[in-house]
């Protein structure tokens, strides 16, 4: 009997240990699941910011960019603005800190800014039929680019296909604008700096396009024939 009891005691010890360890392991498992779920929810909220009025910025260029005198003062028509940035969320400028969103699509912002500047210089045609040159814009980058991390690096880059609808000839003109803005700690200041950064880089890109030597040369080449035709008409 004694032997039996001794063997029971001997065998019962590991059983007790097993129950305890199973409780411990289940506790560990539960806490692990809880922590993982918490971290997942945190990362999910950090990864997918949603556009709200408080994290949406309105990008405007302010005063229109003055266009220098172009050969023959042709009238432009913006036919199409296509986003070629391959960005699945073109309105999302920054993911961190709850995200920063643009109020409109980059293509819309670029179109409006271009039309505003051309209209102010009296170079915007009323419609496509009355235009001397048709412009098709391909936006490659709009927003923040990879910088040092110590500041915000704004970059706007696009290419324009300027086409003479009469001759069918077209010339590509590239434009880019950059800007560096200070980093900030507060969300409000981050939004303000990012907005300013994108506005400056957009204005810079527009200026680079409208006041660039490339556009001047392209207009000169494309309107060469139309400028020569009226001059040649009186002398048959």
């Amino acid at each position: 009997m004694g032997k039996y009891l001794a063997s029971m005691q001997h065998t019962s010890k590991p059983r007790r240990r097993g129950r305890g360890s199973s409780r411990l392991s289940s506790l560990r498992l539960a806490s692990g699941i809880f922590i993982a779920a918490f971290l997942l929810s945190l990362s999910a909220s950090a990864e997918d910011p949603k556009p709200k009025p408080e994290n949406t910025i309105v990008v405007q260029i302010g005063d229109p960019v003055p266009v220098p005198k172009l050969a023959g003062s042709p009238k432009f028509w913006i036919a199409d603005v296509i986003d070629r940035s391959a960005n699945p969320q073109p309105e999302l400028v920054m993911k961190a800190r709850g995200g920063i969103f643009l109020d409109r699509q980059p293509a819309v912002i670029v179109r409006q800014a271009l039309e505003q500047s051309l209209k102010a210089s009296n170079l915007l045609a009323a419609d496509a039929n009355s235009a001397d040159l048709i412009v098709k814009i391909y936006v490659f980058q709009f927003g923040l680019a990879q910088g040092s991390g110590l500041d915000f690096f704004g970059k706007v880059e696009f290419a324009a296909m300027v086409k003479n609808p009469k001759s069918g000839e077209s010339v590509e003109v590239k434009a880019a604008g950059t800007s560096i803005a200070k980093a900030a700690a507060w969300k409000k200041n981050i939004e303000k700096n990012v907005q300013e950064d994108i506005e400056v880089s957009l204005r810079d890109a527009l200026r680079n396009f409208l006041r660039g030597q490339q556009l001047k040369d392209a207009v000169g080449d494309l309107t060469k024939d139309s400028a020569a035709a009226p001059a040649a008409a009186p002398n048959p």
Binding site: S148, A176, T178, S179, Q213
Partner: protein, 168 residues
């Protein structure tokens, strides 16, 4: 005693105001154009590095107030302003990405990233070379290369400013 303190404060404010007024000089040039720097053979820098350096260079030029206007690459300038306009171009001639291990084990600047560049400053109207600047920047390899672009742009503009002061 209070009157003395007030007088001292007024004198200090006046000194600051005159100092600030003295600093507001008229820029020497009408426009300055920064071009994208090219990469010499064998230099393996990220393509985004060139863009970031270009942006930083333009920002530093704006801060330095060397010219009334810092224009973008390829922008037109009025013929009248061309003699008082400059163009900055250049190339990254040497880049060593450094070693974190060497930097951590040896220290004292061993294993640092290193970037060398040459810049030329030309007058826009007659393409005359106004100055040639050589810049060498070293940085801890744990920092991003873009940080090096920042300090390189700062150093380049500082040296350009010094050269302009000497030529005055």
């Amino acid at each position: 005693m209070r009157i003395k303190i007030y007088l001292a404060l007024v004198a200090l404010l006046l000194a600051c105001a005159t100092g600030a007024a003295g600093k507001d000089k008229v820029p020497r040039y009408k426009t300055v154009e920064a071009k994208h720097f090219t990469q010499a053979e064998g230099v393996e820098l990220d393509p985004t590095f060139g863009d970031y350096f270009y942006a930083e260079l333009r920002e530093e030029l704006k801060k330095a107030k060397l010219a009334n206007d810092v224009i973008g690459e390829g922008e037109t300038v009025d013929d009248a302003d061309a003699p008082q306009s400059i163009v900055i171009s250049g190339a990254f001639t040497e880049y060593n990405k450094g070693s974190v291990v060497k930097s951590a084990l040896i220290g004292f600047g061993a294993g640092f990233r290193s970037l060398k560049m040459d810049a030329n400053v030309q007058r826009r109207s007659d393409k005359q070379n106004l100055s040639a600047i050589h810049v060498h920047v070293r940085l801890d390899p744990r920092w991003k290369p873009a940080v090096m672009a920042k300090s390189a742009a700062r150093q380049l503009v500082k040296e350009l400013k010094d050269e302009m002061k000497k030529s005055e």
